[in-house]
């Protein structure tokens, strides 16, 4: 039996993961719509795991916009 790959859990695929990944976002209230003009496809690329993502937005009110962004780990401080 073929090993279950992570993307088997998702619809569609294939660019150049893990450095280029495309995902689709939508308002949760429209998640079950057959067609939704509010779906925004975001393509994220980065050169390495540590580099920020270059995001390209397609669709919705952000169509054609790009930006560079990364998530930052929150610092948890121990209170004395």
């Amino acid at each position: 039996m073929r090993k279950r790959l992570p993307w088997d859990r998702h619809d569609g695929f294939r660019l150049n993961a893990p450095h280029t990944i495309r995902i689709a976002l939508c308002d949760p209230d429209h998640a079950k719509d057959d067609t939704s003009d509010q779906i925004v496809v975001v393509e994220g690329t980065r050169s390495s795991g540590a580099a920020p993502w270059q995001l390209t937005f397609n669709g919705g009110n952000v169509d054609g916009q790009t930006l560079k962004a990364s998530l930052q780990q929150l610092q948890v401080m121990q209170l004395q």
């Binding site: 695929f13 660019l15 995902i23 975001v42 995001l55 919705g60 930006l67 962004a69």
Partner: protein
Amino acid sequence: MTSEHSPEQKPQHVRFDTLLVANRGEIACRVMRTARRMGLKTVAVYSDADANARHVREADEAVRIGPAAARDSYLDVNAVVEAAKRTGSGAIHPGYGFLSENGAFVEALDKADITFVGPPASAIAAMGDKSSAKARMHAAGVPLVPGYHGNDQDDALLKAEADKIGYPVMLKASAGGGGKGMRVVESTEAFQAALDGCRRESKAAFGDDRMLIEKYLVQPRHVEVQVFCDSHGNGVYLFERDCSVQRRHQKVLEEAPAPGMTPELRAAMGDAAVRAAQEINYVGAGTVEFLLDADGSFYFMEMNTRLQVEHPVTEMITGQDLVEWQLRVAMGEVLPLSQDALTITGHSFEARLYAEDPEQDFLPATGTLTRFALDLEGAGLGTDQVRLDSGVESGDVVSMHYDPMLAKLIVHGVDRNAALATLNRALAALDVQGVVTNRAFLQRLSTHPGFKNVELDTRFIERNEATLFAPRQYRVEEYASAALIGLGQLAHECESDSPGIGMTAFV
């Protein structure tokens, strides 16, 4: 506060150990919760459509009273009385709606020697006829919207009356409706031209050009006062609720206390409400509804002679259980607390969750609730902050036979801002699948800057239609935040398994 006893007020110390709840949905569940806590046995009634409903499951005993149509079941006086007799129920709580303000039902219970948890039939009748109720309130010194409703239609007299009322005034066709023959007049100079126009319109539309004049309230708020009276002549008010956010006269979001109230205005409105109740020898829980004008003037609209849908916000700020108060009063006890002992703590909101589709003109929705859950832990909220009064659970069917309200989300905070923040978090934590609801609309309302800034009046939804109903526009930063979380997760999964092959996923 005291008043003379009416001969028809209930005998004292009526004891009952079984309570029938003549209602369904969330209010039936809510009433039974308190009844159980007080050691009473609970009896539910149900129609065929509700045979497996939550209120039936939660009752100690349940009686079928008829087919799905409300008029043949929940509104059938004989069927409900028979169910009470069969189960040995000593009292009936009517909830709201259905038979709760039906004088004939109360009289039928009196004849059957069953206690009605509510006011006497005479009090229901006194407030049921709106125009005679207003005349009675006027006599009791409760303020009414100033107006002229006389038969003398002389132009000069009408103008003099308008001058006396004070501008702006509303000219209305006596025979009118649908906005025809209706005009706002801003000043004495503009009066005659407006009167001529209204008369012409009214004559053309209704064949009648008689006019009435009322004070036009520029930004009226719907502020109502919770009153309670016992059969010993005591009456108190449990402060006010602001229910200005309405859609087609249906309340959507309610809060207590009303923002911007001064202690003096609160006392004046509370005293007027208790006076209104005592004028009609009221017993039990009642709500006196007022229009509150921007200048602090308030005017009687009507009195609801029952427990209101929105009573939980009063419970949250007073710490009192109003159903327990109702049951104690029905048992002939004196009111649990005097006016001086009642206090307000913090602020509370209630949001009504309806099975309806805001994007299709609020068309009622039906179906099976595949999921109905409130993830308080995930939202970091506690049960002392959030209460969900619900008549449904996951797996329940929402039918088209009854009111589409599924549940009420009630929150409490130390002040209005804290409570509003909690409401928004709680709405986000409410997961309803399988049936379309107004949840997203409630979120839009509760996050609306105008609502946050207390720009409240009964036309709030109408005034803000453009922003409340527009498709939500997310900012690029919001999309980026969501995307980064998804991308990070997917990248991690890809790195651990099979680099080189890309993926597209829905997040």
